[in-house]
């Protein structure tokens, strides 16, 4: 099998237990169905991540969404080995990450993977430009080349002119752009984001999300993105995992999750989401034929985009798939039904 067919990132049965000892007993107890607090009492150990498996394809954006204490930060640190997982396997395009020695791990971190941090993780004693060039400096790339690369990255994130400032002279949003530029400067295949925008205020957060979407369109990196914001997960994710108490409640595309939440926990998040923005026409398509075929719409369009058409005229609209084949119709009733579900 060629390495191109392998997922960029593949996690199998990852466990992380904090506390004294090797943690295998706590894992046993979890498998026997014991509760968190009982395990803590018996073993002084906390099970932060329990049996998580997922894989991310090349160029895909995978979002892990969970509230604080759900284990998402631990999970992203397990897959970069900032924290050693207690059990499980992590492979990068087929290479076993957990079997690597320190030297090999450093090589992976220098070229193949980089990370953006929640509180930016910038070095306050270095200028913006030297922060961005840090990854290259560690690789002993000569100064001229790394400054050139860093300057280019600075431009990519829209901060040209700020090279000689220190991080704390910048606003939060700008600091995180520096963090992003620093991660991009080493040209990594995999980008890890640990709640990168949660410390920013809502308008700046939205701006940064747009920036990331724009960059991702041109770069096509493999991204693992951690967030506690469900709306952010829906905007950015090709696929989303909802994490609770250390394990995944549901994994799926935004549309799958919104249209059919797997657990009551997931449903609680979904209830607050304006469905018309997330769901595509396909989910409200019903069988039948329209009176006229002059009005057609692609099945992948978001529902929100056809509302003006529905208001324009009474008749149903024809729905076609990607190959222009007619698959059914939408009408006011079918759309109203799904929007009504939102009100419950």
């Amino acid at each position: 099998m060629e390495s191109g067919d392998l997922p960029a990132l593949d996690l199998r049965n990852i466990w992380k237990v904090f506390g004294p000892g090797d943690g295998s007993r706590a894992i046993e107890l979890v498998k026997n169905g014991m509760s968190r607090s009982d395990i803590l009492q018996q073993t002084q150990q906390t099970v932060a991540v329990r049996d998580v498996s997922f894989s991310v394809a090349r160029g895909e954006t995978f979002v892990v969404m969970g509230l604080s204490g759900s284990g998402k930060s631990t999970l992203i640190r397990c897959l970069s080995r900032l924290i050693e997982p207690t059990q499980g396997e992590v492979s990068l395009s087929g290479d076993n990450l957990l079997a690597m020695n320190e030297e090999q791990l450093r090589e992976v971190r220098r070229g193949r993977m980089s990370m953006v941090f929640q509180h930016f993780g910038l070095f306050p004693h270095r200028k913006v430009i030297d922060n961005i060039a840090y990854g290259l400096e560690v690789q002993k790339i000569d100064k001229q080349a790394r400054i050139a690369k860093a300057t280019e990255m600075l431009k990519t994130v829209g901060l040209d002119g700020w090279a000689d400032h220190y991080p704390q002279q910048l606003s939060g949003g700008m600091q995180q752009r520096v963090g992003l530029a620093r991660a991009l400067a080493v040209d990594p295949q995999i980008l890890l984001f640990d709640e990168p925008f949660s410390a920013l205020d809502p308008l700046i957060r939205k701006e940064m999300q747009d920036e990331l979407i724009r960059l991702q369109k041109t770069m096509q990196r493999t991204v693992v993105f951690i967030t506690h914001d469900f709306a952010e997960a829906l905007r950015l994710g090709d696929r989303i995992a909802i994490m609770k108490d250390g394990s995944f409640d549901q994994v799926g595309t935004p549309e799958e999750i919104v249209s059919s939440p797997a657990t009551p926990y997931v449903r609680e998040f979904v209830n607050d989401v304006p469905r018309a923005k997330v769901l595509s026409v396909k989910t409200v398509t019903v069988a039948g034929t329209a009176a006229t075929s002059s009005r057609t719409v692609m099945s992948t369009a978001k529902i929100e985009t056809i509302i003006p058409m529905l208001l324009e005229g009474d008749e149903a609209i024809t729905v076609t798939d990607a190959s222009n084949k007619i698959i059914g119709i939408v009408n006011r009733q079918s759309v109203a039904k799904i929007l009504q579900a939102e009100q419950k």
């Binding site: 640190r77 090589e107 993780g121 070095f123 840090y134 002279q169």
Partner: protein, 621 residues
């Protein structure tokens, strides 16, 4: 609960009935003898044993060489050069006022006529602080990064802070003899803990995400340390150097007991000659040295990106050359020694003032003196030596410890008190304890109300806090001088000096506690219509209680540290014994005294810490 109290009462009564009053001398375990044996062994073998030949003696030679180099350099240098350099270094941060003030502080010792003594002290400081940095920074890094080193070093560092300086001096005199170099080594050992602690703290405080980021880019451990952790720890390390300097200056007087000259010796003499005026102006020279070192080190570090004057490399070279030329010209024309001295013109009026004060307020000071000595100290002595049996004391003290902090501290208290008796230092310890308690009570009565008052008045605080800072850098012996003048020689000047010495940190910590009370709690109280007074006593003071207890704790420690000094001015007790041990020298006695003081300090410290913890609001898990 009731049966427990009953049992305790029975135990106390039994101990009081069947026990012995005062600690019987027959129980003295003779701790001194083996140590005195070591002392005489060391004396005999100092020139022949390998450990002296190949380690201790060469170490002394190196330190001596360093001291001589620094000293002759500063003696060679014309007096105005250091002032210019200090001004230039601080002026770079654009704080002109501070720069002028510091430059003035440089020439101050010259003005009051102790220029050459200052040079001796500065050399001692420079060499000791350099050694502290060379040893302390690596130790601090190890402490921060290696948990095993930390678990070994922490308790040692904690212990070192409660051990009074004279106790360090005894083994040093034993091993290294007497002279400036042993004094430097003693200073290093005394001043090392803050260097290690603050380096470790600086490294541990580096944001986790910065370290993780460096790791994520594949930095090696060495790269993370050299390029991220150490640079970010620099401000903390500089603070450590600062603290080290302050501590080193703090024992400048005590260091004279093992042969350091300079300002310390000068101060020591003013005490003997009862010249408070001269004592004060020489002490201000110590303060000036502290101030200069403090401001210069602070100006060397500043936040990245802070506004400072940038100097081109060429300008810097030209400046250095100019300085060198000026130094040579100064030498040629003989402008080396400070050209004039107004020392006596400041000192004499102060002396006269104190004499006047003494005769005028005799009606107040004498009764106070007599009251403290007769009614409190003598009574306490009779109480502990003749009225209560030592067994009853042990029972009561450990019961109290049990109530506050559980059985561990209770065992420590019982064992500790008994052990003090076994060393044969019971009467001396009773003396010191009585003096300490009196001094602490007076300090509490002054410091807490002042601290509570200041805590709500930031403006008054900002005026007073530099004064408090300056008070802390003045060597403690200096505090004793005026009070020896006012009261006669005896325990009272020591007590009063201890109070004056201990209240600045007491005020500081109390007002800090009052000020740092959560703003929302105060607003909540106010919105419920609480009056100012209700907010203060119902919210501020209770929430500040842990901080207030720590203030008391700090004052106890400082009063105990002052016990030695009070021995120098006739206070008796363990302080007097430690001076006796050092000057004879009698290592056996020194170790006994040291153990007694350390036990007392540890028990009091633990008790107060435990009380503070009990008063702290419970934290969510």
């Amino acid at each position: 609960m009731k049966s427990r109290i009953g049992g305790l009462l029975v135990l106390i009564i039994a101990a009081q009935t069947f026990g012995t009053r005062g600690f019987p001398e027959s129980l003295n375990i003779g701790l001194a003898e083996p140590i005195t044996g070591v002392q005489s062994w060391v004396r005999k073998n100092r020139s022949s044993n390998w450990s002296f030949k190949f380690f201790f003696n060469p170490l002394i030679s190196v330190v001596e060489f360093g001291l001589n180099c620094v000293e002759s350099f500063f003696t060679w240098l014309p007096w105005f050069i250091p002032a210019i350099v200090v001004f230039a270094v601080i002026a770079r941060t654009r704080r002109w006022g501070v720069a002028v003030f510091a430059a003035f502080a440089v020439v101050y010792p010259g003005i009051v006529g102790v220029w050459s003594e200052s040079i001796v002290t500065i050399s001692l400081m420079a060499v000791s602080v350099l050694m502290c940095v060379l040893v302390g920074v690596p130790l601090g890094v190890l402490t921060a990064l290696n948990t095993r080193t930390e678990s070994i070093l922490r308790p040692i560092l904690d212990g070192m802070q409660t051990v009074p300086a004279t106790v360090y001096l005894i083994p040093i005199v034993l091993v290294f003899g007497i002279g400036p170099a042993p004094a430097a080594i003693a200073t290093v050992i005394y001043a090392l803990p803050p260097m290690v602690r603050l380096t470790a703290l600086g490294i541990q405080q580096v944001p986790r995400s910065a370290v993780e980021a460096a790791q994520m880019f594949g930095a090696t451990k060495r790269q993370v340390l050299a390029k991220v952790q150490l640079p970010l720890a620099v401000p903390s390390i500089i603070t450590g150097i600062n603290q080290t300097v302050m501590m080193a200056l703090g024992i400048v007087v005590i260091a004279t007991l093992v042969g350091a000259g300079g300002l310390g010796q000068e101060i020591n003499q003013t005490v003997r000659r009862l010249q408070p005026g001269r004592g004060l102006i020489v002490s201000l020279a110590v303060v000036a040295v502290a101030l200069v070192l403090d401001r210069v080190s602070m100006s060397l570090v500043s936040n990245p990106g802070a506004q400072r004057i940038r100097i081109k490399r060429n300008t810097l070279y030209i400046g250095l050359i100019c300085l060198a030329v000026m130094a040579v010209i100064g030498r040629v024309f003989g402008w080396v020694e400070f050209p004039f001295s107004w020392g006596t013109s400041f000192a004499d009026p102060i002396d006269t003032g104190f004499k006047w004060f003494r005769t005028t307020f005799d009606v107040v000071t004498r009764p106070f003196n007599d009251f403290v000595v007769r009614e409190i100290l003598v009574r306490a002595q009779t109480l502990f030596n003749e009225t209560i049996t030592w067994q009853a004391i042990v029972v009561v003290a450990s019961a109290f410890s049990y109530y506050v902090a559980g059985w561990k501290l209770s065992l420590l208290t019982a064992g500790g008190i008994t052990f003090i008796g076994l060393t044969g230092r019971w009467p001396d310890s009773v003396d010191t304890l009585a003096q300490t308690v009196v001094a602490v009570i007076i300090s509490i009565l002054i410091a807490l109300p002042l601290g509570i008052w200041l805590g709500r008045r930031p403006r008054a605080e900002s005026i007073i806090s530099p004064v408090l800072d300056a008070m802390q850098t003045i060597p403690c012996l200096v505090y004793a001088i005026p009070f020896v003048m006012i009261f006669s020689v005896g325990p009272v000047p020591g007590i009063v000096a201890a109070v004056v010495y201990a209240i600045p940190p007491g005020i500081r910590l109390t007002s800090l506690g009052i000020r740092q009370v959560n703003y929302e709690s105060l607003e909540a109280a106010t919105t419920f219509g609480a009056t100012q007074r209700q907010v203060l006593w119902g919210v501020r003071v209770p929430l500040a209680m842990p901080s207030i207890i720590l203030a008391i704790n700090q004052m106890v420690m400082m009063v105990l540290a002052m016990a030695i000094i009070s021995g120098m001015v006739g206070g008796g007790g363990l302080g007097y014994r430690s001076i006796e041990a050092l000057t004879k020298p009698d290592s056996g006695l020194g170790v006994e005294v040291g153990i007694a003081i350390v036990i007392m300090a540890t028990i009091l410290d633990r008790l107060l810490q435990a009380t503070a913890k009990r008063l702290q609001a419970p934290v969510a898990i």
